[in-house]
Amino acid sequence: MKELYDVAVVGSGAAGGMSAYVLTQAGLKVLMLEVGRDYVPAAETPMFKLPAEAPLRAAQTPDKPGGFYDATVDGGYDLPGEPYTCAEGAQYQWWRARMLGGRTNHWGRLAVRYGPYDFKSYSRDGLGVDWPITYDELAPWYDRVERLIGVAGANEGLENTPDSPAGVLLPAFPLRASEYFVKRGFESMGIPVAAARLAILTRLHNGRPPCLYATPCVRGCSIGANFQSTTVLIPPARNSGNLQIRTNALVYQVDLDRKGQAAGVSFVDRRTGRHHSVRAKSVVLAASTCESARILLNSRSAQFPQGLANESGQVGRNLTDTVAIHTLAQFPALEKLPPRNDDGASMFHMYVPWWAYTQQAKKELDFPRGYHIEPYGRGALPSAGPPDISIANYAEHCVASHGLALREEMRRKFGTYFMFGGRGEMIPNDRTFVDLDPMVKDKWGIPVLRFHWQYHDYELCQAAHQRTTFREITSRLGGKIIWEPEKPPAGLNHETGTTRMGASAKDSVVNSFGQSWSVKNLFVMDGGIFASHPRSPTLTILALAWRNSSFLAEEARKGNL
C-alpha cells in the first residue's frame, strides 16, 4: 500500500467510527483499519427471529457466547489463536468482537453523561486523578453527540447527573408496569429514579426510524433505530468519499519516521497471515482500551524501548472497569398483573443514578465513589439464551416440581423477576494493569496482553453496599432474593484508563486531546484515555472522540502534525 493517507484510524467502534466520521467530514482522507470482517446490519440482523428457529433455542455456546442471536461476530472472551493471559490470582475476562463497528453492535445502549464531580474526583476525595478537562468543556460535545445519535431520556435535575439542553433528548421510554412498581419501591427509600438514557430512537431522527419495540438490541438493529457505529457513523463517513476501510487488519505496531513521528501502522491480515504497512500523516488508535495499549507496548524501538508514548510508564497502567453486583429477586406482588407486552426497548426503561453524594461528603459511607443501578425486569421473549436468562432457569425456582402445578407456577411467575445490577466506579490501583506477557504470543507471533487485577477495599465496600441496597428494595416490595453473589466479578466489559490523559507528560500518556505527549501526530481516542470511570463509558467515548478528532483536524489544517 503506497498511498499516503491523512489519517489511519485503527478501529471502527464508538471511538474509531466517530473519529472517521469527524475527520472525513473535515475533508481528510482516512483509512480505517478494522480487525474483523465487514458487517452489514440491514442484511444481517436477525430481526424477529424466534428462539425456536435457532440451534439449542439460541442458548449460549462457546461459538456464540452471547447466545446464537447476539450480534457479535467471531467474538467473546476466548478467540481462537488470539489469546490473552492473566497473572497469577487474576481472573479478568476481556470481551472482544471481530466485526466492523466492534462492540457498538451489541452494547446495552445506556448513554449517560459524566457529571461535573466526575472530572474532578481527586480534588473531591484525594483518590485517583482529576481529568485535565472539566464537565463544562465537554458538555457541548455531549450535546452534539446526543443530537447526532439520538438519545431518549429526560432531564431530571439530579445531583451530578447532568441535564441536556432543551430539545436535545428524544422522548423517554414509558415505564413498564413492573418498573413502575420497583420505582415506587426505590422512592420509598428516598432514592430518586430517572428515565433511562438510551441511544435508541423514540421518534424519527436524522432520517432513522424509531424503535419497533421488539427484537432485543443486542442483536443489532436492521433499521438503525439504535446507535451502532455501522448504522450512524460509518455510512456518512463512507458517503463523504474520504473513507477507505480495510477489514481483517490486525494492527500491531505504529511505524515511525526518522524524526520519531508516526509514519503509519503495520498490520497482519487475519485471513492470509500476510504482513502489511500503510502510511499516514497521523495515526488514531481507537482499537479499544486494552488493544490500543497493546499496540503501543508492542511498538518498541531504540527511541522508545518501553513502548511508544510510554515515557511516563503509564501505558497499560490505571486499568479500571465497572464494579457490579447482580441480585436476582422475585416479586409475588407482580403476579397480580395480567399478561402484557413487555418487550419495549429490550433494555430497562428507567435507572437509578447514584444518590448518596451528601452521605459520602459527610463520610457516612465506607467507600468513596458511587454506583448506579440498572433494574432488569420484564416478561421477555422466552429463550434458552441471552439477552434474558433462560426460561428454563425459572423452573429451578419453582416450588412445584412437575405436572399441572409446575405449569401454573411458571405462568404465574413469568414477568415477576428483577435482576438488579449495580454499576460502580472503581479507583485505579497499582495492582490492576495490563502488560505484555513475556512468553505468550498470538498465532501471528505478536506478544499478547497479560491482565493483572485486584480490587481495593473501596470497591469491595461499595459492592457490599450494592448488595445491601438490593436486599432492602427486595424486602420492601415483599420479594424474595433468588440469588446474590459474594463479590463482584473482575470487570464488566467496560475497560478504561490504560492510556490515561493528564495535565502533565510525567504521569499521563496523552494530553487532554488524546494526543501523545512525545509523538505529536499520534492520538488515542478510545476509553483508554479516561482519567476516571464513574459510569457507562460509551457516550463519553463518543464525545471525547468528536472533540479530539476536531482538534486533530484543526491541527492538520494548520500544518502542526
Partner: protein, 215 residues
C-alpha cells in the same frame, strides 16, 4: 428441587453464563473455563448465518430413547385444554438436538440424560419386568416421583437426570411459540409506540404497594 447447595452452584453457573455474554446484563460474572473452544469445530462456528440458522450436527438418540423422552416430558408438563403436551411440540427432537450438540454443556447433559433414561427402563424392568413405556401410567408416575425426590440434592443418576432433563424440557417447551403463549408472553411484534402503564395495571400495583405499606 435441589438442595440449597446444589441450587446455588447451578444458579451460579447459569447466572454467570447469562451475564458473561452480551446485551442484557451483558457482563462477566465469574470465570468461565478457558478450554471450551476445543469441541467447537463441529458446531455451527463463530460466525453463523443468523437469519438462516442450521443445526449442523446429527441427532443421535434411538427411537426407544425418543419414546421414553416423550413420555417423561409429557409427565413433567402434561397437556392442558389450551396447551399441547411437549411431545406434540417436538420436544423429544429438541432433547435429541441438545444432547447431540458438540458443546461442553450439552456433552455433560448427554451422559446425564442418556444414563437417566436408562435408569427408568432398568428400574421398570427390575420391579415390573417390563421397560418403562410398557408399565402402567400409575407405575410411570411412581418412578418419576421417586426420581424427583432424588433430584433434591442427590447426585444419583435419577437425581441428576431430573434436574437437567427438566431444565432442557422446560426451556425447550416455553421457547416454542405455543409454550410462550401458554406462559403469557405477548410481543415480538412491531408497535407504533410503547404503551404507558395502564390505569388497570396502576390500580393493581398501587393496591399491592398499599398492602406492603408503601403509599
Amino acid at each position: 428441587m435441589s438442595s440449597p447447595q446444589i441450587t446455588r452452584r447451578e444458579t451460579l453457573q447459569w447466572v454467570a453464563a447469562a451475564l458473561a455474554s452480551s446485551g442484557f446484563p451483558h457482563y462477566a460474572m465469574a470465570a468461565r473455563p478457558r478450554a471450551l473452544r476445543e469441541t467447537t469445530l463441529r458446531g455451527y462456528g463463530t460466525d453463523p448465518d443468523l437469519n438462516n440458522p442450521v443445526v449442523p450436527w446429527k441427532r443421535t438418540m434411538t427411537g426407544h430413547q425418543l419414546q421414553l423422552t416423550a413420555q417423561l416430558a409429557d409427565l413433567i408438563l402434561p397437556a392442558t385444554a389450551s396447551a399441547p403436551a411437549p411431545s406434540a411440540l417436538g420436544l423429544p427432537d429438541f432433547v435429541d438436538e441438545w444432547i447431540s450438540a458438540p458443546y461442553p454443556e450439552q456433552q455433560r447433559d448427554r451422559s446425564i440424560i442418556l444414563n437417566g433414561l436408562g435408569w427408568f427402563d432398568a428400574e421398570a424392568i427390575r420391579r415390573w419386568e417390563r421397560p418403562f413405556f410398557e408399565v402402567s401410567g400409575e407405575h410411570q408416575k411412581r418412578l418419576l416421583g421417586e426420581a424427583i425426590l432424588e433430584a433434591a440434592g442427590n447426585e444419583s443418576t435419577a437425581g441428576q437426570f431430573i434436574r437437567r432433563f427438566r431444565f432442557v424440557v422446560v426451556g425447550g417447551y416455553y421457547s416454542t411459540p405455543e409454550g410462550a403463549k401458554d406462559i403469557g408472553y405477548i410481543g415480538n411484534v412491531a408497535l407504533q409506540s410503547f404503551p404507558p402503564v395502564s390505569e388497570d395495571e396502576r390500580a393493581i400495583i398501587d393496591a399491592e404497594l398499599r398492602r406492603l405499606g408503601i403509599y
